[in-house]
């Protein structure tokens, strides 16, 4: 079996498991917990588009997640409860912020890119903290979830679960389509050799910018979903540590692979919950695991899989 085919088989299997999970009688908290992981996974998959395929390490992606969730939360707080309006607003707000800040950020590379995205992320974080009308740093409780075509269907965790799963599948599909397109080919080529791509007549900065904006839009969508799932938005969602967590998910899972980012999100968040139940000092074990994965594997979990399958 070719490597690509096998990868898609793995991805299909993962998604199939996610699709049947709510139907096998698991307790409610497992469903909401998995839904939360899927929402974060959307942003991890989106980050992989710029990080894995584009070679742009963004330390500001949590801001897009936060902007999306604030857009949804503020609309609900103001009485505009329709889910799709919230979704559109969250995606648009995140995309616009990415367009404005990305136009400056894509001119840098390497560690300068990491730091400039951190800077823009921090700016959004401080603005959210100053939003006293919407709870400031205490955050904003959404006393009701968004409405779906005028109904309260999203009140059911299972329904919301499937909405999030659909968004995850759509995000994976979008990222796949983009990376397989000529645009994606230029993006990848620009990661390895920007001079050459420029010499071939492509505008590298423009390609990077649109990848960055698309990635932010997907994270904005994830933010809208998180806001509805937890019924709560707060600046804590856009702290720089959260952006770092997304990077960890992508690298641990395997950057620039078909299912690495998804697996990374699941491993990081499930370990967090699992280890923290076992001991209050779970971070030592988690840290040791990160070090071990880097020292003894190449290309994260997806890479590990490749070698053992070979």
């Amino acid at each position: 079996m070719s490597k690509t085919r096998r990868d898609f088989l793995v991805l299909g299997l993962m998604l199939a498991i996610l699709a049947v999970l709510p139907l096998v009688g698991l307790p409610g908290w497992v469903i909401t917990y998995t839904a939360r992981i899927m929402a974060f996974a959307i942003c991890a998959v989106a980050l992989d588009l710029v990080l894995g395929y584009g070679g742009m390490v963004s330390l500001g992606h949590a801001a897009f997640l936060g902007i999306g969730s604030y857009a949804a939360g503020i609309l609900i707080a103001e009485g505009i409860e329709d889910f799709f309006i919230g979704l559109a607003a969250g995606a648009a707000a995140a995309g616009l912020y990415a367009l404005a800040t990305g136009a400056i950020a894509v001119r840098t590379k390497g560690v300068a890119f990491i730091m400039i995205t951190l800077a823009f992320g921090q700016m959004a974080f401080f603005v959210a903290n100053a939003l006293s009308e919407y709870g400031g740093s205490d955050g904003l409780t959404l006393w009701s979830r968004a409405t779906l075509n005028g109904t309260r269907a999203l009140k059911s965790d299972t329904t919301l679960y499937f909405v999030i799963l659909a968004a995850l599948v759509a995000s994976l599909g979008v990222v796949r389509l983009v990376t397989a397109s000529p645009f994606g080919a230029v993006l990848r080529a620009a990661r390895n050799n920007p001079e050459r791509v420029t010499a071939l007549g492509y505008d590298v900065e423009r390609v990077r910018l649109w990848a960055y904006v698309l990635s932010a839009v997907l994270c904005g969508v994830a933010g809208v979903l998180i806001a509805n799932l937890t019924s709560f938005v707060s600046p804590a969602l856009m702290a720089w540590q959260r952006s770092g967590e997304f990077i960890v998910m992508v690298i641990l899972g395997g950057a620039g692979t078909v299912w690495g980012a998804l697996a990374g999100a699941f491993v990081v968040l499930a370990l967090e919950e699992g280890l923290s139940l076992a001991t209050q000092h779970w971070k030592i074990a988690f840290g040791a695991l990160l070090v071990a994965v880097v020292l003894f594997t190449r290309g994260g979990i997806a890479g590990l899989f490749d070698r053992s399958a070979r």
Binding site: P27, G28, W29, T32, Y33, R36, N129, A130, S132, G135, G136, S137, D138, G139, T141, L142, W143, I226, T230, S231, F232, S234, A236, L237, E273, S276, L277, A278, T279, Q280, K283
Partner: protein, 388 residues
């Protein structure tokens, strides 16, 4: 520490092992045990465990099964974990909660599942007013009150000109608003610092330049430690009266030590409080854990006593929500703080004091009451609460 791990492990084992737990009272304690503020959660956890231990592992006559979880001070993590407590561990009561943002995040899922929420610290104003709930009871205070006590004290002392300095986040802004509620003099300057800021040299220079009669500040945790040390190093201690809330207490005194001596705070209780219940609690706590309990510890201890009294009053019928609500409202117990009465919004009506940091005869640092500022004081939001 080991004690805690075994306790957590034991509670985990119990969680998995027992499905038929009719005679048990299941309590989920959510506190912040990660990051710079972990010490606040630690005080709450230790005190709650102490109360349960003193009652032979029972609260209200039922075997208390306490699951302790760390909210990591991340609201979305807290929501996830509280859902686990409610649905997986099937707790009857959620207690603890160190920070207001975590409280606001978990309030909705807890209330919707008709689980009782007994705060041992955070008391955000929405829960005291418009968003009050018959499932919420506080054994601590409403967030504004300790600041109001300092404002009243400043007013009573006749201070004309005060500089207010608080971190730039919601609790900080609430703190400044609370202080100004009873203080009618001039606010020479309002300084908002970055949350988690550790260097206050710039602000201190500004305060000196303003030549105030006193400063009021709210700097919990490490921020408070640094501020106090830098305030004293700058030679301001003794020159400018230092009024504070949640800044000078037993979580920061081990670090500030002499630097905090003589500085003031507003509180509903201090280890130096002169009543028998308090003295017994402080002695038992210090014997068990080897450090001086703070008001966070006292509130958690009182939370356990409140739960104990309410479950007893409801005849152990923890699943009977109405009986439990009535029991929480009317339950009486010997609070370590002295007077304690439940208000209509589930927050206490209690006395507030100005307390001062002292070095005790045994060389340890603690706070003790200086004078009473409010008697039987309820919060200002209760009238907006539509329960009754």
């Amino acid at each position: 520490m080991k004690h805690v791990i075994t306790l957590a492990a034991a509670s985990l084992a119990l969680t998995i092992g027992t499905a038929a737990a009719q005679e048990k009272l299941k309590i989920g304690m959510m506190v912040t045990l990660s990051g710079p503020s972990a010490v606040l959660g630690q005080h709450q956890r230790d005190a709650f465990n102490l109360a349960v231990k003193q009652k032979d592992g029972k609260l209200g006559g039922l075997v208390a099964d306490v699951v302790i979880v760390d909210d990591e001070l991340k609201p979305d993590v807290a929501v996830q974990k509280v859902q686990g407590l409610i649905e997986r561990d099937k707790v009857d009561i959620v207690t603890g909660v160190t920070f207001s943002n975590v409280m606001m995040a978990i309030a909705k899922p807890v209330f919707e599942s008709k689980t009782f929420l007994v705060s041992s610290n955070a008391g955000p104003s929405p829960l005291a007013g418009k968003a009050c709930s018959p499932f919420f009871y506080s054994a601590s205070y409403q967030n504004d009150q300790n600041h109001e006590a300092m404002g009243k004290y400043a007013q009573d002392k006749g201070f004309k000109k005060v500089v207010v300095m608080v971190p730039n986040y919601q609790a900080g802004k609430d703190s400044a608003a609370g202080f100004k509620r009873h203080f009618k003099g001039e606010i020479a300057d309002e300084i908002y610092t970055q949350l988690g800021q550790l260097d206050f040299s710039a602000e201190l220079a500004k305060i000196v330049a303003a030549k105030p009669d006193a400063i009021f500040t709210f700097m919990p945790g490490g921020m408070g430690v640094n501020l106090v040390k830098q305030f004293t190093q700058a030679g301001l201690s003794g020159k400018i009266p230092f009024l504070s809330a949640f800044t000078i207490d037993e979580t920061t005194l081990p670090a500030t030590q002499d630097a905090a001596l003589g500085l003031f705070a507003g509180a509903q209780w201090a280890p130096g409080s002169d009543n028998p219940a308090s003295k017994a609690f402080v002695a038992a706590f210090e014997k068990e854990y080897g450090y001086v309990p703070s008001l966070y510890a006292q509130q958690a201890y009182d939370s356990a006593l409140l739960i104990d009294a309410a479950v007893k009053a409801a005849g152990g019928k923890v699943k009977d929500k109405e009986a439990m609500q009535k029991a929480f409202r009317t339950a009486s117990f010997e609070s370590v703080r002295g007077s304690f009465k439940m208000n209509t919004n589930g927050f206490p009506i209690q006395d507030f004091y100005v307390v001062k940091a002292v070095k005790r005869a045994d060389g340890k640092y603690a706070t003790e009451p200086v004078e009473k500022v409010f008697t039987a004081y309820g919060d200002v939001y209760a009238k907006e609460c539509a329960i009754n």
